[in-house]
């Protein structure tokens, strides 16, 4: 009897402690499992190469992409982004006044969790908040100006590893968890989740397109997509993925999308920013 009581007491204490431990380590645990899954599935792909999406999955596409990168289609957008970034607002300030390090080489830190407002702040959101705070009209999240500015900012961070932080507080963990659930939940009339394509079928084709692995999937954003004949932001990609599975897209930068971006970016910590990118 005494042995049983001791045993139960020890297990309860141990259980409680490990519960607390698991709670705060959940993102780290997920991170290891996520990365491990893709490394195991694609042993020939160097870790950093996952950021190249379909080009890490197919040699022929890769060859064409490497050729294209000599004079890439997003070139014009980066230049336009630099122009917009350096231009003065009506009140004399610039984007540099809104961001740490004058906005140069910081893309890899977004999204971050704003502990005062208890929300995820993405780069696109921060850009529009900067415009509004300075009396300027915000950009449409789907259009060329937002793509241009994020393209320029991504370009200044090329090669820098994603460095997303999930602070050990309940609201941040909630946002992270919400993003994770969104990623795995099926939606739309076609009943697909993000995972259906990007975890279960990377390297496979969906109609004419080759699917990218979820690991490193945001590192190349924004992208010049041949299918779009132009640039697309993360907002554009999320909303169009939704409508492609016949789910009515949410408003760009809806909290669900921001949490999703938070989760995906954290999963790609340590992988280099390769944006802006070119895709088929």
């Amino acid at each position: 009897m005494r042995k049983i009581i001791v045993f139960i007491t020890v297990m309860t204490i141990f259980g409680a402690q490990s519960c607390l431990a698991i709670e705060s380590l959940a993102p780290e645990k997920d991170f290891k499992a996520f990365r491990g899954f893709f490394i195991k599935r694609f042993p020939k792909v160097p870790l950093d190469d996952f950021v190249n999406g379909p080009y890490s999955m197919n040699q022929d596409m890769r060859k064409q992409w490497i050729e294209k990168e000599e004079l890439p289609p997003y070139d014009f957008s980066v230049d336009r982004g630099k122009e917009l970034f350096s231009a003065q607002f009506k009140n004399g300030k610039t984007f540099a006044d809104c961001f740490p390090n004058k906005g140069v080489g910081i893309r890899q830190n977004y999204p971050f969790f704003d502990e005062k407002k208890n929300e995820v702040v993405t780069l696109e959101l921060a850009i529009n908040r900067c415009l509004e705070a300075n009396g300027e009209k915000p950009y449409s999240y789907l259009n060329d100006d937002m793509a241009a500015v994020t393209a320029y900012m991504a370009f200044t961070s090329r090669g820098k590893p994603f460095d997303i932080k999930v602070p050990n507080n309940p609201r941040a963990l909630e946002a992270y968890e919400s993003g994770k659930q969104y990623f795995y939940q099926r939606r739309g009339q076609l009943n697909f989740s993000c995972a259906s394509c990007h975890v279960q079928n990377p390297g496979e084709r969906i109609r004419g397109e080759m699917l990218a692995p979820a690991l490193g999937i945001l590192n190349a954003m924004p992208i010049y997509r041949s299918e779009w004949g132009g640039m697309g932001t993360i907002s554009r990609r999320f909303t169009s993925c939704n409508s492609q599975v016949r789910a009515t897209p949410l408003e760009p930068q809806d909290s669900s999308y921001r949490n999703l971006e938070y989760y995906l970016s954290y999963m790609s910590n340590g992988l280099p920013i390769s944006g802006p990118g070119a895709r088929p």
Partner: protein
């Protein structure tokens, strides 16, 4: 207005390789907008490449060429430091030109 033409021209031992990216909508004239109206054809018709006073390459384009077209070709007879002049003209009469040094 910023140039619509990006060039990379590199002289090799025998040939010079030229890569050009041009910013242009290249509307075929067959596509409809969200309201159902045809977007009028607006595409480049000719691209001329001149080096050493001669035309070394002419491209005749039309509705089948995609937006923001890219062209790559090689030619003989030029060397590093020579000028390469590129001019395009579209079906609406618009044009742009640039001169780049062969590297």
């Amino acid at each position: 207005m910023p140039s619509t033409i990006r060039v990379r021209a590199i002289a090799g031992t025998e040939t010079t390789e030229v890569q050009v990216l041009i910013q242009h909508p290249m509307d075929s004239g067959f596509v409809k907008d969200a309201q159902g109206n045809l977007i009028p054809a607006h595409h480049i018709e000719t691209v001329q490449f001149e080096a050493g006073g001669k035309t070394v390459f002419t491209a005749l384009w039309g509705p089948a060429v995609s937006k923001d077209p890219f062209v790559k070709f090689s030619f003989k007879g030029a060397k590093k430091g020579d000028d390469l002049k590129i001019t395009w003209v579209d079906n609406m009469g618009a044009t742009d030109t640039t001169t780049a040094k062969i590297q």
